[in-house]
Amino acid sequence: MVTTNDHIPATSLQNNISVFWHRLAYKHKAAETTLYLMFLSGFLLWDFIEASWQVERVMLIAHLLAGLTVFPLIVGPFWTSHRNLLNRSKKPFLRITGQMTEWLLIVCTLTGVYLMFYGNPGNLIGQINQDVHFYSSILLTPIVFRHAMRWTVLKVFKR
């Protein structure tokens, strides 16, 4: 895995953007944190958790607002730039977990958008979207964690 981008010259606006874009691919902390917080706020809405409504209502609006603002602003650009690394990576594990992350992220995002605008009023399509959103997030979070474990913000296995 490439760990430095100092070889990229920064001589023009286009180059500056290009440099920013390439550097962004390695700045995962904000995106990873956002993802975990999105997961946490969504997870607390799960019936099984039986969080109090005072907690749930705050989590709900936080999840919704974060999904509208922080997520597209942080996770979107990061992943778009980061996926270039994915394609070039020589490590099969990172490639596979990265691809899994990408697909799950797409599914989770699309179902989230649907839930944002249409919700789950009780019909079949709403129910499917909610279930897919939930299960995709359940899979997504540990995969992201495993994928980024070496550099993770959680630093559970900090060397």
């Binding site: 019936d47 209502r57 709900l60 944002m116 919700g119 009023p121």
Partner: protein, 984 residues
């Protein structure tokens, strides 16, 4: 032990052969903790402290027995009624009557351990040592709860109505008093699962003596207000203080409520009331005062035995006395000594300690010669000396203010005074302005615990032949109370309780002029009004609407506009908005009538109408006449939609989404909006109440993303499926006189549609009035109540289809059609002719209540016969200029005043029913017409059943009242028609 003692043969043997041994055994066993009863006051384990549940003081207190010092007080709720320790006294379970909770406390520190929500009005609490569990009665919920020592509900058992007091015998029988129907249930609690063993119905002396009720000369009455139970130390008898309601004639203070103590024989398997030993006024409760007057007492409440079992003490909460019975001559031992024909058990009241210090003596606690009386209104303890074991020893006060029960009374001084007056029948409390003429009764003798569901029983027991006397309550009210509460209360106290100088036996007490009362009386009656208007009673006075909140009024900003529901529940909103439940119940017809009521009875009386017509405005404190005319033509609640778009808050004039879906309780007091609304405890989403578009958009997104909580906040299926919910407004009675104005619920209860045992036949209100198919009620129509929501097999539409096709039809022809279809399906018509007699038979097949159901509806028969030449030879019920001829066969109820004159719009002043020709559910009415003889046959008879929502006379009155509005003529609907031809 108890079964041993109750075996009469063995006792007989013991008495004659082993009397000394028996006495020893009795002494030993009676001093053991053989029995227990639910109580508001208890000893600590070592009897050095007193534990008190402090009623509306909202707390539990620990008092030092010697010094009377308040050692500890825990404020835990609103109305703490009973308390019981567990086996080792480490836990204390208490009932909070008004909060619908039982609370488990630490037995020493009174620290709260657990709070358990229960169904309505938990009352009695007792601990069963042998099964290691508590029992709790739910007075309004009609249940018995079995609760573990840890405070978990183990079982919920259905019991007879109004369970209240509890007592345990030492042979594992649990006695429950049923307060409002005069019954005692006996449960077998030999195992941890109580099983019903026996139900004893106390004798209704009115019926028992004469075979029929309503004999003006017969004293006594129906056993009511049962509560506490005292079981004799030998376990053979139970004493039950209560009153007898004698409401079969107009109230007269000396013959309306009687204090009584009933006695049960507890022989196992043969439990019964010993009727001849019932202790009632003029017989065994009879102590003559100076002046040769019988000392009158009222509202017997608690009862305790002395330690030796030879005396019995009864607290009298109304007259504020302590009554003592000498038991030394009771039972068969002295039977032969009685010379009177009638055996009365040898037990008579030997002392009535008049005017116990403090106010409202209730709980009693005894040990050796110490007797403590717990005053519920002055919230203190009085210490008595019992007078010792001998029959001549008299009870006397040792310390009139032995202990304070609370550090601070949570009630305001005004409400405390008002509540004290409400509970007082003590004529000595204020000799100049007594609440009762001669200690007869208090307001609480009938309005048990204030104004609540027991009102229904009050009206049921007071019901007489409505054509002779429809009133069950107070007569000749001053301004229907609301218009002049002070004057009205004075007159009610005079007429009902003989108070305020109205008792002719006490001419020295000057009668108070209710039109011009002295300042002190005004102060007292204002305080009484403050109590009557407390949160748990009648906060808005003329109706029974309640807000579940510490505050009395809300602001309109606290309400969600019904239009906010439109975006997701579009169909339901549209159905509702154009329905009769929708916006603008404040229509010209209503406005004219409400203004008339306010003019006659006073502005405050508008509340009587508004409780159901504009409840949100009542709760928001809106007063005075409506400024703008309700637009009965407005479609889709456009003004609501406009206000919502502009972010404006509204006072909805109707029963809106938020109101109906936040009703948490139907009281079953008889109607008049007897429901409780709770706005505060719903689980709201952030921005849900926003008036800004962005906030509303975000709230909607949240609700759609997580709708379950929203659904739970606005749905109470059990309540909606109960016809009682609709009865809160579709049943109506005159506030004060208690005459039934409208009884759709009662009519439905008697109908074949009320069949809970057979769900295929049972139909509640919503099964007919909120179904999509109004012609075939068995056809359950599927649909969605939420846009893109789940498809329900039986969607509850919100057209609220009923007989009023008029208002809904002005807004939406679909609503009118549904209404007319329903009407056409409500009755069956058949005709026959024999000779010159023509008979039309109308059967109320599908209304489910009387036809017509509403007071202003007109249903009548029109019969027109033409001869062979087409010439009209007979007619009946043919309208002339929009009016129905007087000799028509109308199905109608006419309410009249005491002189028999129709009251018309002044219906709240009616006193009897002049005529009631409405057709009850399932009833067939035959109307016979005599045709002329000399007619040319064949004749053709056109028979129609016609329906009109408002009479022309009323419409003309409304037109005159609102000349600026064009009031359309209410259409006459033909609901059935048969054309027949007859040959001679």
């Amino acid at each position: 032990m108890s079964s041993l003692l109750s075996d009469r043969n063995r006792i007989y043997g013991l008495k004659h052969c082993l009397a000394p041994l028996f006495l020893c055994l009795l002494t030993v066993f009676s001093s053991a903790k053989a029995v227990d009863k639910s109580s508001s006051i208890r000893w600590s384990e070592d009897k050095t402290k007193i534990y008190s549940s402090n009623f509306d003081g909202g707390s539990v207190s620990i008092i030092d027995r010697q010094s009377g010092k308040l050692l500890n007080e825990a404020s835990i709720g609103r109305d703490i009624r009973r308390l019981a320790f567990n086996r080792d006294y480490s836990r204390l379970l208490v009932s909070d009557y008004l909060s619908d909770e039982v609370i488990l406390l630490d037995g020493q520190s009174l620290k709260e351990i657990k709070r358990v929500k229960t169904p309505a009005r938990p009352f009695g609490v007792i601990f069963d040592d042998s099964n290691d569990q508590y029992y709790v009665t739910l007075f309004e919920g009609n249940k018995l709860l079995v609760i573990s020592p840890e405070g978990d509900i183990l079982r919920t058992i259905d019991v007879e109505k109004t369970p209240r007091g509890l007592a345990l015998t030492d042979d594992h029988r649990l006695l429950i008093t049923h307060s409002m129907n005069g019954q005692i249930s006996i449960f077998d609690v030999s195992t941890s699962s109580p099983k019903l063993h026996n139900i004893i119905k106390l004798v209704d002396t009115l019926v028992a003596k004469r075979g029929v009720a309503d004999k003006a000369t017969t004293p006594q009455g129906k056993p009511r207000l049962l509560d506490n139970i005292a079981i004799s130390p030998d376990g053979t008898r139970a004493w039950l203080p209560h009153v007898l309601w004698s409401f079969s004639r107009p109230f007269q203070f000396q013959s309306t409520v009687f204090p009584t103590v009933s006695i049960l024989d507890l022989t196992p398997g043969k439990e019964h009331e010993i009727v001849q030993e019932r202790k009632q006024l003029f017989k065994q409760i009879s102590i003559v005062e100076s002046g040769n007057r019988t000392r009158i007492v009222s509202n017997p409440h608690d009862v305790v035995y002395s330690d030796d079992g030879k005396k019995l003490f009864v607290s009298l909460a109304g007259s504020e006395d302590l009554m003592v019975f000498d038991l030394s001559r009771q039972g068969s031992l002295n039977k032969k000594r009685h010379r009177r024909k009638k055996f009365q058990g040898g037990v008579k009241a030997t002392q009535i300690y008049r005017n116990v210090p403090g106010n409202n003596p209730r709980g009693l606690l005894i040990n050796n010669d110490d007797l403590f009386v717990q005053n519920a209104m002055s919230l203190n303890l009085v210490k008595f000396n019992t007078g010792g074991p001998g029959p001549f020893g008299k009870a006397k006060v040792l310390d009139k203010d032995f202990a304070k029960l609370v550090n601070k009374d949570p009630l305001t001084p005004e409400v405390r005074l008002g509540k004290t007056l409400f509970n007082s029948g003590n004529s000595l409390d204020s000799p100049e302005f007594p609440m009762a003429g001669d200690f007869w009764m208090s307001c609480n003798s009938c309005h048990f615990d204030g104004f609540n569901f027991t009102n229904k029983q009050l009206m049921a027991d007071g019901r007489k032949d409505k054509k002779v006397d429809a009133l069950t309550g107070h007569r000749d009210l001053v301004k229907m109370i609301a218009g002049n509460p002070v004057g009205a209360y004075i007159k009610m106290i005079q007429n009902t309780q003989g108070g305020m100088g109205a008792n002719p036996a006490f001419p020295e007490v000057q009668k108070v002029d209710f039109n011009n009362p002295p300042t002190e009386v005004t102060r007292r009656m204002s305080a009484l009004n403050d109590y009557v208007r407390t949160r748990e009673n009648l906060p808005y006075l003329s109706n029974w609407l309640r807000l579940d909140d510490d505050k009395k009024f809300t602001h309109k900003e606290e309400w969600l506009n019904s239009a906010s529901c439109e975006s997701c529940h579009t169909s339901i909103y549209n159905q509702w908005a154009d329905s009769n439940h929708g916006m603008n119940m404040d229509n010209p017809y209503y406005r004219q009538h409400e203004d008339f009521a306010a003019k006659v009875e006073g502005e405050e009386f508008r509340g009587f109408c508004r409780g159901c017509h504009t409840p949100q405005m009542i709760i928001n404190g809106f007063e005075g006449p409506f400024k703008d005319h309700g637009d009965m033509f407005e479609k889709r609640g456009q003004s609501l939609l406009d206000a919502f778009d502009k972010g404006e808050t509204v006072n909805e004039a109707g029963t809106g989404c938020f109101f109906c879906h936040r009703v948490t309780k139907a009281e079953n007091a008889g109607g008049n909006a007897d429901m409780t609304v709770n706005l505060k405890d719903r689980q709201g989403y952030i921005f849900e109440e926003s008036t800004q578009a962005v906030g509303q958009w975000l709230a909607e997104r949240q609700i759609n993303a997580l709708p379950e909580t929203h659904k739970e906040s606005y749905s109470n299926k059990e309540l909606y499926n109960s016809s009682l919910y609709c009865a809160t407004c579709h049943n109506e009675f005159t506030p004060g006189p208690g005459a039934i104005v409208n009884d759709n619920y009662g009519e439905w209860q008697k109908s074949e549609f009320n069949n809970p045992k057979d769900p295929t036949k049972n139909k509640t209100c919503i099964d007919c009035h909120m179904t999509a198919d109004v012609v075939d009620f068995d056809n359950r129509v599927g649909g969605q109540s939420t846009n893109d929501g789940p498809v329900s097999k039986d969607v509850r539409v919100h057209y609220f289809t009923g007989g009023n096709y008029y208002f809904a039809g002005l807004r939406n022809p679909e609503h009118a059609k549904l209404s007319k279809d329903m009407l056409k399906n409500s009755v069956a018509l058949s005709v026959e002719k024999s000779g010159n007699q023509f008979t039309a038979k109308i059967t109320n097949t599908n209304a489910g209540h009387a036809m017509p159901g509403g007071a202003r509806r007109q249903v009548w028969l029109e019969v027109v016969a033409t001869d062979a030449h087409g010439k009209k030879v007979f007619e009946s019920g043919v309208m002339k200029d929009g009016y129905i001829p007087k000799d028509s066969r109308k199905f109608i109820q006419v309410k009249v005043d005491k002189d028999g004159k129709p009251v018309g719009q002044l219906f709240w002043r009616y006193e009897k029913v002049g005529k009631d020709t409405r057709i009850q559910a399932g009833e067939t009415r035959s109307e016979v017409f005599d045709f002329p003889e000399n007619v040319v046959y064949p004749i053709t008879v056109n028979t129609r059943v016609l329906y009109q929502v408002f009479a022309k006379a009323l419409t003309e009155k409304v037109r005159k009242y609102t000349p600026d509005i064009e009031i359309p003529e209410p259409e006459v609907v033909e609901i059935k028609k048969i054309i027949t031809s007859y040959q001679k």
